[in-house]
Symmetry: C2
Subunit: 109 residues, 2 copies
Amino acid sequence: MIELSGTNASAIAERFKALGEPMRLLLLEALRRGECSVGELAERTGGGQANVSKHLQVLLQQGYVDRRKEGTTSWYRISDPQVFRMCELVCGGLEQELDRKRKLLRRRK
Amino acid sequence: MIELSGTNASAIAERFKALGEPMRLLLLEALRRGECSVGELAERTGGGQANVSKHLQVLLQQGYVDRRKEGTTSWYRISDPQVFRMCELVCGGLEQELDRKRKLLRRRK
DNA sequence: TTCTTATATTACTAGGTAGTTGTACTTACT
DNA sequence: AGTAAGTACAACTACCTAGTAATATAAGAA
């Protein structure tokens, strides 16, 4: 059972860091509907082909997505659906945080 | 209700990024037992005072921790306990990922 | 084979960030 | 007042990374 401690803090941080990039989050969101090719993902996210491919390697390396090759095209899909549960938690925290900051601003007026 | 989309992908990524650093994870883990001063945290994590203080500002800014000043010392504590739920999810995914990679290595022998 | 398509990789640049050192600031104590 | 303790901040360095452009690789089509 892996837990947060000095020995594996780096490995855990790597997994968080992989999600700490807007383009990679957009790629995951695009893949939520189903399998996509690199070209489709580049079109949907508005990113360049090389950049999208590089970000996909990061997500692949961390096991958030999986890949299937067919001819010259690579089909990517979500491999760990828990990633969306994590996004929900972060969104919830973000919402609370925005509320808190709004109240602080109101107090300062 | 905040969701993952183009407009707020950056804000969500910022919150993930704040957790994507080993020292900050160690600080959260140290604070799990209860309130700590900066000096105590520096001692427990083995980090320098200035560096610990800087990382704490990041966690504070994102609302993961809260601060209370008493005399010259600052007492930090966990503000959003959900952060540990996220660590559990990441640890679970990490475990699955390690299993998967072990199997791949075995297959290549 | 030659050309085309789709993806991966390399080299490069600009911006960001962790860690350290030194210092300023604030509070308490004498 | 002066001193000490605890923290925050600024400046600096070394490293990392997102994005881009060019190229390499691989599979199919003509």
